[in-house]
Amino acid sequence: MIEVLKLSKVFPASKKSKEVRAVNAISFHCQPGEIYGLLGANGAGKTTTLRMLATILEPTSGTAKVAGYDVVEEPEKVRANVGFLSTATALYGRLTARELVEYFGRLHGMDGDALHKSVDTLFTALDMNSFRDRRCEKLSTGMKQKVSIARTLVHDPQVMVFDEPTVGLDVMAARAIARFIGDCRERGKTVIFSTHVMSEATKLCDRIGIIHGGNILEEGTLEALRTRHGKEDLEDIFVEVVGEES
């Protein structure tokens, strides 16, 4: 369960740049078993929003409840219930796949048999046993992606946050990620993901929020958006919402 309430993030002015209002009092919610897609161009505020939900960044004002915990009041409990995956979240190259996943399990307070069992199950489910003892730096992109997925799942989080998870991946790896996101919904997890790829959003999302300049300009199921704008193609809808010039 994710409930976002007037969430804002302002990056203070520095020598090089003026004050940036990256996210402007946005509100939305996402139920268990639902995929919410944040659709927006680069710089629209997607990453900042998701980072606030994962409590990597602190909101300037407003708040959000993730898995029942407030991101401002109890950030550590939020992190304990969230799996966060983005292309920016790299792996420790000198750890083996297994060591890496176990390390994150330990950081989530797991230990001993429970940890080993959870890791074994994950490695079998994701078909990773052939490279479990290979160092992450030696893995192919697809294998790395699997390790990242296992890393986000090791503590069996209720809420999954994906920040542009397919950027830079080839077709096969991107499809695997998409399938994995779908699986998360099947297992009743609350899923939010950001993308600027229209086809991905069309295929996966139960509801879509179009974000631009830190504001959510339009929100609804794909069907609702299509009826409201009288257009079939999500890209056309998107352009109509955010305006042609941007």
Partner: protein
């Protein structure tokens, strides 16, 4: 703060670092191989060079000795110097190192000296050139001997007892135990070495675990874990301290072992060039120095963590950290200057105080009041630095500086 979580982070960083070739080189290879090679090498090389310079028979000119065969003969007699024919450009020849020194005799020296009116004999040499200085010393000693002999024979001829030339004798007697002698000399260098090593040992991991992680994108990954940022930075901090102390311990032990192995040769070499010098070190002194280094190593580790945390990339961290090397070397060098002593003011200057008290400890002195003051003040500085590192790590503007 959770000890378990700090331990989990620490163990992971340890495994990670031990697999990193660059850590292995900076923590193990350099201290084990380089420093003993340098220090033992120098210890062996310097006496060898001095002895070699001493073995040379210097070429010396005697200027103005044409009608004074007695003194010229006396200088030639022992073959300690090679007398070469005089030329008017003797000064240039010294400068060009064709000859090492020149003796300039006043006119009619033999005759005048017998009357006690010869005036001054000049020994020309080139200051700063060790071979010329040695030649000058040899020639001066020979002239002194000749003068005493001449005086004795003149007095005898007049029936005066020669003992009057030297009514009493003066001799020196060293009461400091050998380890104190070397403690103030070579031993005084050891704290300095250890401080530099404690700094360089912390340098690479401090940058790699902060700026390096940002650069590789693992910082964001680790921040998604429920472990508090304070636990994360403390786990990293303990790893940096470990590397810092390990570097210093390894370098010290490896230097110690190489010295023990080379001790015989060094003792021989050194006593040949300086009979008053004996090589000995007090192991308790070394240990005490080490205890004093611990808070300093904590200070180094926390400061470098805080500074490199600020950097976006490893390279940027390097540009911040490299100048800090001078900040560390400078007080350590000041402490080696003569006249800089331990007092309540210097005891409060970090690094400088540790070098100074280390010098005392190596010399077998235990100024307990200062030891307590320095240990306490270093601990205060170290805690401030840890506080700064923890605070910075909790600030997202530092972690996500762009």
């Amino acid at each position: 703060m959770s000890l378990r979580n700090i331990g989990v982070v620490y163990r992971k960083e340890l495994v990670d670092s031990l697999r990193d070739r660059r850590t292995i080189i900076s923590t193990f290879v350099i201290p084990i191989l380089l420093f003993p090679l340098l220090s033992v090498g120098f210890a062996l090389l310097i006496p060898t060079l001095i002895n070699k310079a001493k073995e040379e028979i210097p070429r010396v000119m005697i200027v103005g000795g044409e009608n004074s065969p007695l003194i010229v003969e006396a200088l030639k007699k022992d073959h300690k110097i090679e007398v070469v024919p005089a030329t008017p450009d003797f000064e240039t020849q010294i400068t060009d190192r064709k000859i090492r020194a020149a003796v300039v005799l006043p006119g009619d020296f033999d005759v005048a000296a017998n009357r006690g009116e010869a005036g001054k004999v000049l020994v020309d040499y080139y200051e700063g050139d060790i071979k010329s200085e040695l030649a000058q010393k040899t020639v001066k000693d020979m002239l002194n001997d000749y003068r005493v002999d001449l005086a004795k024979s003149l007095l005898t001829a007049k029936g005066v007892p020669t003992g009057l030339l030297q009514p009493f004798d003066v001799d020196k007697n060293n009461v400091a135990p050998p380890e104190k002698v070397s403690g103030s000399g070579f031993g005084g260098m050891i704290p300095y070495f250890v401080i530099i090593l404690a700094f360089t040992g912390a340098m690479y991991p401090a940058m790699d675990l902060t700026a390096g992680e940002k650069e590789r994108g693992t910082m964001e990954t680790i921040l998604t874990s429920p472990v508090s940022r304070t636990d994360l930075v403390l786990g990293k901090f303990f790893l940096v301290v470990t590397a810092s102390l390990a570097t210093a311990i390894l370098a010290l032990s490896s230097m110690g072992i190489s010295f023990l192995l080379a001790k015989h040769t060094i003792d021989q070499q050194i006593s040949k060039s300086d009979p008053g010098f004996h090589f000995a070190l007090d192991p308790r002194g070394v240990l005490a120095v080490f205890v004093m280094i611990v808070p300093l190593s904590v200070l180094f580790s926390a400061t470098m963590l805080a500074v490199s945390l600020f950097a976006k990339s490893f390279r940027e961290a390097q540009t911040y950290i490299s100048p800090m090397t001078f900040v560390v070397i400078l007080p350590a060098i000041i402490a080696l200057l003569p006249g800089v002593e331990l007092n309540t003011r210097t005891a409060l200057v970090p690094i400088l105080s540790t070098t100074l008290v280390g010098k005392e400890l190596m010399a077998g002195n235990h100024p307990w009041g200062f030891i307590a003051l320095i240990f306490a003040s270093s601990c205060v500085y170290a805690s401030i630095a840890i506080g700064a590192a923890v605070t910075l790590f909790n600030r997202e503007s530092v972690l996500f500086r762009s």
